[in-house]
Amino acid sequence: MSKIDLNDMSSMQYDVLRELGNIGAGNATTALSQMLNTKVDIGVPQVKLLGFDELPTVIGNEEDVMVGILLMLCGDVDGIMMFLMDPKVAKNLVDHLMGGCGMPSNEDNSFNEIERSAIMEIGNIIAGAYLRSLGELTNLTLDVSIPMLQVDMAAAILDVPAIQFGKIGDKVLLIETAFDDEKVGKELDIKGYYILVPELESYDKILSSLGV
């Protein structure tokens, strides 16, 4: 049985998880910056322990349409990793990635096949960078599934990590990071959220690999 109780974590354990989130998000953002070949500033990552009712509203309203990319983790650490962004941001990223030849479809919340596959590739690269840095740091093997994409209400997409956390407690650990792409300008902020949800036993492995 796991030694970790999310509702009763020591500040040391909490700090370690936060730092892992920071390092992962930092590396993911570097990968994003290289992919877009432009400077991407990273905001100060925030780690929040939220109740289920607070989770969807952290990112906006429950019914706001979001693009969600989900990857399953296996290997030494089981769990899920999620990357969330506004559909406008996703369109922006695709357009950037394709050098303005992305043929963006006009409708805000619908994505054609090319766009979908580009978004999944972005998710793949970002999540890969995030997890690689965690793997190097902890010396654990982190394998990841192919990315899955969904465009739907924020609350419905966030059900997936919430249910994962629901198995172990009544709170969700959210690591949120904002990006800012200088070229794009203020109204088209490239902004996203990372959510990493290890299974409870995996917390033990992560923490003990770091000697906590």
Binding site: F52, D53, L55, P56, E62, E63, V65, G68, L70, M72, I80, N109, S110, S145, I146, M148, Q150, V151, D152, M153, A154, A155, A156, I157, L158, D159, V160, A162, I163, Q164, G166, K167, I168, G169, D170
Partner: protein, 162 residues
């Protein structure tokens, strides 16, 4: 409809006529409406997981199908509902993410939630009169205690009523 009471994730609420109940963005979670057509006492549960006995940390009864439906029924009985008269409408239980035919525990929780909900309802003798479950999209539901209708709203789809 009077005031519309919002029910969060892993939560349950009751109301009487003319008020309504709503929960926003059900994904794999299931929304369970119980309704007494005579007294119009109504309840809504937003459950996340099928079975409380398989989870160690299970103090929050509204998180699970088994304990949540029982608790909702008890609260409604205190408000004048009669269990044998209750009818149920359920929505949600979608599979939000998938690749190919590959499904695992995390992906199939929606289906399990729906199955568990139906089992519990049958065991309690509550008739399931309508459902809009499964598939792969999120649902917002709004229940009107005056008409007994459940309105379902999804992204890019027409509103529907069950």
């Amino acid at each position: 409809m009077g005031e519309i009471i919002k029910v969060g994730m892993a939560d349950l609420k009751t109301c009487t006529m003319p008020d309504g109940l709503t929960t926003l963005g059900l994904g794999s979670c299931v929304g369970v409406v119980l309704y007494d057509p005579v007294t119009k006492v109504s309840g809504l549960l937003h459950l996340m997981l099928p079975d409380s006995t398989r989870i160690k940390n299970n103090q929050n009864v509204a998180k699970f199908a088994d304990t949540g439906i029982v608790e909702l029924c008890e609260q409604m009985k205190k408000m004048g509902a009669v269990q044998s008269r209750l009818v149920a409408k359920i929505a949600g239980g979608a599979q939000m993410f998938s690749f190919g035919n590959n499904t695992n525990d995390i992906m199939s929780v929606g289906k399990k939630n729906v199955e568990a909900t139906k089992t519990i309802l049958a065991r309690m003798g509550i008739k399931l009169v309508a459902e809009d479950t499964g598939l792969n999209y999120g649902r917002t539901i709004i229940f009107d205690s005056v008409t007994g209708k459940l309105m379902i709203r999804s992204v890019g789809k027409q509103d529907k009523e069950i």
